[in-house]
Point group: C2
Chain length 343, copies 2
Amino acid sequence: MASRITIYEIARAAGVGIGTVSRVLNNHPSVTPETRQKVRDVMRRMRYQPHTYAQRLARHHSETICAVIPFFTNYFFAEILRGVQEGIGRLGYDLVLFGVNDVSQAESSIARALQRGRVDGMLFFSMRLPEKVVPRLREARLPIVLVDSYHPDFDSVSVANANGAYDATEHLLSLGHCRIGMITASQLSISAGERLDGYKRALEKNGIRYSKELVKAGANTKEHGFNREAGCEAMSDFVRMGSEMPSAFFVSSDIQAIGALAALSEHSLRVPDDVSIVGFDDIELAEHLRLTTMRQPMYEMGETAVERLRARMEDPDMDVLHRTFSPQLIVRDTCGPFIVKGR
Amino acid sequence: MASRITIYEIARAAGVGIGTVSRVLNNHPSVTPETRQKVRDVMRRMRYQPHTYAQRLARHHSETICAVIPFFTNYFFAEILRGVQEGIGRLGYDLVLFGVNDVSQAESSIARALQRGRVDGMLFFSMRLPEKVVPRLREARLPIVLVDSYHPDFDSVSVANANGAYDATEHLLSLGHCRIGMITASQLSISAGERLDGYKRALEKNGIRYSKELVKAGANTKEHGFNREAGCEAMSDFVRMGSEMPSAFFVSSDIQAIGALAALSEHSLRVPDDVSIVGFDDIELAEHLRLTTMRQPMYEMGETAVERLRARMEDPDMDVLHRTFSPQLIVRDTCGPFIVKGR
DNA sequence: ATGAAAGCGCTAACAA
DNA sequence: TTGTTAGCGCTTTCAT
């Protein structure tokens, strides 16, 4: 394996002690420019590379941050991850990825990460933190930020899901729709829950009674139900309601909305003429499909999460901060006014 | 930070030596069941966690593999990464991600990774390995596998791009099209180059002269031109050819095909009535858009790459192996027979 | 400013 | 089987 050269050989070759070598490695001020240069030259000549793990062991920190992330195949996560990656790159840290499929895997990831000095900070994505790990996490005093999730004890960056859902529903309401359905996702997801709440709140505010029959999720629970299939299934269910079917829908994610659109077209229902749809996320394809949706600043959320983590690593005693981005309504072509149809 | 408990405290508490503790930690056979149990109990009770970096330093290997990956926001990479993540999880290894935007960043990633013992293996995605780093990589004798790329000196897993492109073009030819355009991407990408070759080969085989005018790439070079914008731009260029415009197109990726579709619909050209399109990749949305395309088994490629890496870590002297998957033509609704149109 | 020496927490060779 | 000891390659006092 790559070079067996240690600071000892460098020290010998440069005619100095290992302490000095270490000092130039760490840019310690008290080294004369000449010595520094001499040591640097030797290092270059011998192609010296410090041994990261030895450094980490001696320094008691790792300069790595760990991201625990479910389903990272989907566009929403990929985009946030891109922001994270960018931020971490700037810090010069390593990013280690723990992909998890369920809560128990998350717990084992946490256990691994909690090893002393293993990681300097953690990012949790879209996960309801299992309450049983919270005490351990707190006492570990490990900097943590939650992304697209929430817990009172930890920093978080997320989007105002309820408000976004509220605005989305309001938009539909303002178009004259009064029978508005919602396609939701698993309530295991905090975001899904909040979006449902926002929808309910908007109805209520407008004097419309919330009806359970108008809220459906697909059978496919992959990715907490945030998938195309689920959207398609849910919409198919709605179509089966026949004349009872709502004229407009708020869908809790774009990917589900895409599925819903497919179901609609399969049943020869036109958008926005027959049915109006508003999604959530504003993934790249939403624009392509001209989908009206609530935009989340995903990349920026990723960057912000890293920045927050950096701040907390610097000062572990800061107050807990919950950074909330406001989703923005992007009006495109999937919503139209409510029109009473003849049959 | 998390527990300050070391094998010393465990040893003391259990009334054994640290050697024994280490042995139970590493499942060394020569420990009596009773001692083992006793030590295990103490560990559990004291919530002991080994210090990874100390282990790595002493063991001379890291049980981590590093993935160097460009643009990992896109679906193609995300999907491969999912396979990678799955495979690595099974091995119990760590996955550290180096996102790179260009070749120089790739080189610095390589330098970092080459530190002794830092990583046990590397995965390079979709990158033409800079020839200048090849000698260093070889002499480091670090297990490496290239994914969606090729170099004679290193293991690789990829798809038969040229054959795929050939088949795609053949498909169009078999439908009666003879003026077939291609939307390509940056020739910095090996895959893009191979796909272009396959297209040329198919034309040639069918006695059709290759014409430079019929091959275009968009101006947007983000992600090597594998992006929606670029596809849209390229197709717009084609549309400007008026009656000279090809009746069918092979597009080097689905994401570009999606852009091309958008451009077409903007110009009121219908698919497949006016224009036929075949893409490459078979990303999730291809199905939704009913796009005819060449499928790459992305997830499987990711898994295979890890498996190959594991094999090479086990036996560094194996022969170099290039694993090639065959892309598969998925016929959907974007291709139709060539029809001579009246004007 | 610099060298020597004592850790960091573990593994592994060596005795016993 | 088990304890002791010498590394692993670095950082960081503590003298000088």
